[in-house]
């Protein structure tokens, strides 16, 4: 073996440089640990920049009746009570502190009249709760965290003369394998995208913050990075995944022009007064209010319109129903032949408020549509439809420490890659606050784990050699399968057969096709050298996308009910029995996906009391309520 591998020693390695990863790294560094941040892209380009609406935190700035209990309640309702209650509780309690903390890092949120952080309405939230910066909140967050890391590096430089003495960002670097010593994390192996050279980071603790899996879908709002790397790394290291059947399809993605199909139109367009209309010009959402939500949502256009100015005495417009309801409604309208030419519906703000106000409140939406589609949203409606947006499922973690469950130790997960927090469906705005709350906890507990170790786990050179061989294989495979074709085929299988509306026959078919694809992915080839070779990068990512897609398809077939981000046409109702079950994916010795049922943790009485019995009876079995 002549391959030279660059070696580094760290205490904590954070894989992923989005909101959760950067927040975890800040915390680990503040705890005095030498920390590495692995970023698949350049520093500061993470997918978090795409989040537009805001970060949900019950600060009570816009409505003083808001508090963590109301936020907790909304989160559980949104997730249809499948959430890990403890994660939802911690999230609701800690989100305000995490947002305020960002201000001390230099974040500039929009303000209320009395100078506090302004909060806006969002689907599923009872009170205005989203801290925001126009419609580019995600960018503000990533920049703030990025600049905080730079400021920590400046402090380190002042003290040690080296910016990277305590925290270093490995930009454009991909981790392909976690290296274990027994059941403990010992390091992470990967390559620099720029040079194709390998590197080995020896560290006793790894925080996964790699985001989601959307790139396995044809229509998605996710960037190329979302190939389920963290999900797959965790599985291969012996951790478990839960809730993988739950994928959120954002109801309003761009449908035209074709090149930007999938790109998101923020929910705040609806929160600020935008309405959905079908091709007959009808405001159709009133017909899609499910019984569980009747009490909170208006049934006439007049009441709905009054709500924007007088939310205390009117019920909310049905356009602000949780995302899965809106996505399904749009899907039904299009299927019934009342969609637009490009297969979407109209989202209109142009007739609802003056042009000047639209430009001020939705600047980047206005900009995006003007530049990308030559559509002026102040003059004409947008064409929107459902797009794959977020995976609720992910690494099964201990709620307090974010440590991955399963057989592995020293592995932590935060953000989209972790599962449980959002149950079967995530509320808009809960993602950005989730990143901060659990990012901080992951960094903190990874540091504590390292401190408690009496020796660093040693890795075996044979494991590193095996990882090297796996990574190099596609380059030397003459006449292998084209990775781009394989990705398109995978996207077609997932998009067509494991999409927003699912059926048993299609899911079985999907699993069969995934098996075939798996054989082909094993023979993938990448022409060209190792320097910045996107074909090679994709060939390596495909392995992760396959395994995660299989988890989703298997779990989707198993769960015979419809709930949140999982809709079965053959089982359209929500089932109280299924609510008690989490589907847990793991890998067996042969590397095949194994699916187990596991009971959901039971909510303690003090949290149950926050809901009235009538509401709980919609979700829970009689014996649970007894």
């Amino acid at each position: 073996m002549t391959e030279r591998i660059e070696r580094h020693l760290y205490d904590v390695v954070v894989i992923g440089a989005g909101g959760a990863g950067l927040r975890a790294a800040i915390e680990a560094r503040l705890a005095g640990k030498r920390t590495a941040i692995i970023s698949k892209s350049l520093f500061g380009k993470a997918h978090t920049v795409m989040a537009e609406g805001g970060a949900a935190a019950a600060m009570g700035n816009a409505n003083s009746r808001d508090n963590w209990m109301v936020h907790f309640r909304d989160t559980m309702r949104g997730g249809k009570f499948l959430n890990n209650y403890r994660m939802a509780e911690l999230h609701a309690k800690e989100a305000p502190e995490r947002i305020w903390e960002l201000e001390t890092y230099g974040a500039l949120f929009d303000r209320t009249k009395d100078g506090k952080i302004s909060q806006r309405n969002f689907g599923g939230h009872e009170y205005p709760r989203l801290a925001h910066v126009g419609d580019r909140t995600g960018l503000e967050m990533i920049r703030t965290l990025q600049q905080k890391i730079v400021s920590l590096q400046q402090e380190d430089h002042a003290e040690t003369g080296d910016y990277e003495s305590r925290i270093r960002v490995f930009a454009e670097t991909t981790i392909t394998e976690l290296v274990l010593s027994g059941d403990r994390i010992a390091g992470a192996f990967g390559y620099y995208r720029e040079s194709g050279q390998f590197l080995l980071l020896e560290a006793p603790a790894v925080v996964l913050a790699t985001g989601g899996v959307g790139r396995s879908y044809k229509v998605t709002s996710n960037s190329w990075e979302y190939t389920g790397d963290g999900h797959a790394l965790a599985l291969r290291a012996g951790a478990t995944l839960i809730n993988m059947e739950f994928l959120q399809f954002h109801p309003t993605g761009m449908v035209w022009p074709p090149s930007v199909k999938g790109i998101l139109v923020t929910e705040s367009v609806r929160g600020d007064g935008g309405v959905l209309r079908n091709s007959d010009g009808k405001r159709f959402m009133f017909e899609y209010v499910p019984d569980v939500f009747r009490k909170q949502y208006a049934d006439t256009e007049e009441e709905a319109d009054r709500w924007y100015s007088d939310p205390d005495n009117n019920r909310r417009p049905p356009e602000l129903l949780p995302r899965d309801e809106v996505a399904r409604a749009i899907n039904s309208e299009v299927k019934a032949g009342r969609g637009t030419k490009s297969g979407g519906v109209f989202l209109d703000v142009s007739t609802r408020m003056p042009a000047e106000q639209i430009v001020r409140r939705l600047p980047s939406m206005h900009h995006q549509f003007k530049e990308l589609a030559d559509v002026d949203i102040t003059k004409e409606p947008m064409e929107v439809g459902p797009t794959c947006h977020y995976v609720m499922g992910g690494v099964e973690v201990d709620p307090d420490t974010t440590a991955a469950l399963g057989t592995v130790r020293g592995l932590f997960a935060a953000g989209e890659v972790s599962g449980g927090m959002h149950g079967s469906n995530r509320l808009g705005g809960n993602s950005l606050s989730d990143l901060l709350v659990f990012g901080k906890r992951a960094g903190e507990h990874a540091a504590a784990y390292v401190s408690a170790l009496d020796h660093r786990p040693k890795l075996r050179p044979a494991d590193v050699e095996a990882a090297t061989d796996t990574a190099l294989a596609p380059l030397s495979r003459e006449g292998g399968e084209n990775p781009y074709t394989l990705q398109q085929d995978l996207q077609a299988v997932m998009g067509d057969l494991v999409g927003i509306i699912r059926r048993e026959g299609e899911l079985t078919d999907a699993l069969k096709r995934l098996q075939e694809l798996k054989q082909r992915v094993a023979k993938v080839g990448a022409p060209g050298g190792r320097r910045y070779n996107p074909a090679w990068h994709l060939a390596l990512d495909l392995r992760n996308m396959m395994i995660v897609s299989e988890c989703t398809a298997r779990a989707a077939l198993e769960r015979e009910e419809s709930r949140g981000g999982h809709t079965r046409e053959d089982f359209p109702a929500m089932s109280a029995e299924w609510r008690q079950v989490n589907l847990v994916c793991s890998l067996d010795e042969a590397g095949d996906v194994r699916l187990d049922r596991k009971a959901l943790p039971t909510m303690p009485p003090e949290l149950l009391e926050l809901f009235d019995r009538g509401e709980l009876s919609k979700y829970m079995t009689d014996e649970e309520l007894a």
Binding site: H47, V49, T104, Q154, P257
Partner: protein
């Protein structure tokens, strides 16, 4: 659907060439779509950065027909039907491969730009008015595509200026912090002048033109930074005030008047009054040499650097300056000039030099 002709630069740091491709183009597509189709069909190893494909992450910066642009924000319909589209990597940064360049220059400069200095307020107690945060928010729209850095003629083709010049991206960062209502540092503009190379900029507005976020880099950040530097340094009234009063008596350094809602009103220099001054006046560590040090070695034919006004040994202008017709500094062309100028000694940067 038609086939269109594209020319794409392929190669690495050892050299390369423009290669010709014929690619299918569909209605409504952008240049980045074409690159992706090229990768999927003809050139699987064509290197190109991209992420969000929605103009929000600033990854797919490239030069399209010689213009610095985002690949995802350049619609194919903006070109003529049979126009050849030529795609090359950013010129100011070293090529890694194909369209991917080494942009680490920007991250080095980011590190040298002093970070936000938090005021002594508890988290949750920050109070700011919307109108005050909006000025900084404009600059925080920046997606760090580095097109402004790429197009800036101070460093484009002038490798030698890179050490002393931070570039428009970091001028707006300085301006952003300068205008931040609660930033505890008060020497952002002086720092920009002394250590970021603000003086190199001669306001050609190229950066503003290429900004995909339409940030008014020159008008709203650079010019105010420059003006304020001039204000403070050369404004005769400020000078006189300083001469007569001690620093803590200068208007603007008075105890903070508290405005509506307990929000401190702002001082004359845009800082909240009564914010504690940072310990020590030095900025965060920087290994970059200041502009003046670099400029001292330059000969005649170089980019002309801004001239300081004639000052005495104490670093201050003569009091007679106050009475002169051109208070605030001499004309760079000499004070006895007739306009229009007959002979201008200023020479623009030569693109082919070195």
């Amino acid at each position: 659907m038609t086939d269109r002709h594209f020319r794409v630069w392929r190669g690495d740091e050892s050299g390369g060439e423009i290669r010709d491709y014929d690619v299918e183009v569909n209605d409504g597509e952008v240049v980045l779509d074409i690159i992706h189709r090229l990768q999927a069909t003809q050139a699987p190893d064509l290197a190109c950065r991209w992420n969000c494909k929605a103009g929000k992450c600033g990854s797919c910066s490239m030069e399209i027909n010689g213009k610095p642009r985002l690949g995802c924000m350049t619609r194919m319909s903006t070109f003529g039907d049979d126009e050849t589209v030529t795609i090359t990597p950013l010129r100011t940064f070293p090529v890694i491969r194909d369209l991917v360049t080494d942009v680490s220059f920007n991250y080095v400069k980011a590190r040298e730009t002093p970070a936000f200095a938090p005021p002594s307020l508890a988290p949750g107690d920050y109070r700011m008015q919307q109108v005050d945060v909006e000025r900084s928010q404009e600059f925080r729209k920046c997606i760090e595509c580095f097109l402004c850095q790429n197009t800036c003629h101070v460093v484009r083709d002038h490798e030698e200026n890179k050490a002393a010049f931070s570039g428009p991206r970091y001028f707006i960062r300085a301006a952003e912090l300068d205008m931040h209502p609660l930033d505890a540092r008060s020497d952002r503009k002086e720092y920009a002048q002394a250590s970021q190379g603000l003086g190199y900029c001669n306001i050609t507005k190229c950066c503003t033109e290429v900004c995909p976020e339409h940030i008014k880099i020159t008008d709203n950040a650079i010019i105010p930074l420059k003006e304020r530097v001039v204000d403070k340094r050369y404004d005769p009234l400020v000078w006189l005030g300083r001469k007569i009063l001690r620093r803590d008596q200068v208007p603007g350094a008075a105890p903070a008047p508290v405005g509506e809602g307990g929000i401190p009103s702002r001082g004359v220099d845009g800082k909240p009054l009564g914010t504690p001054a940072p310990a020590g006046s030095s900025m965060a560590p920087s290994s970059t040499a200041g502009v003046t040090d670099v400029a001292s070695g330059l000969g005649d034919g170089h980019v002309r650097l801004p001239e300081a006004p004639p000052v005495g040994a104490d670093g201050r202008m003569d009091v007679a300056e106050l009475l002169a017709t051109n208070a605030g500094g001499p004309s760079p062309f000499g004070d006895d000039q007739q306009f229009p100028l007959a002979q201008v000694t200023y020479r623009p940067p030569e693109p082919d030099k070195d």
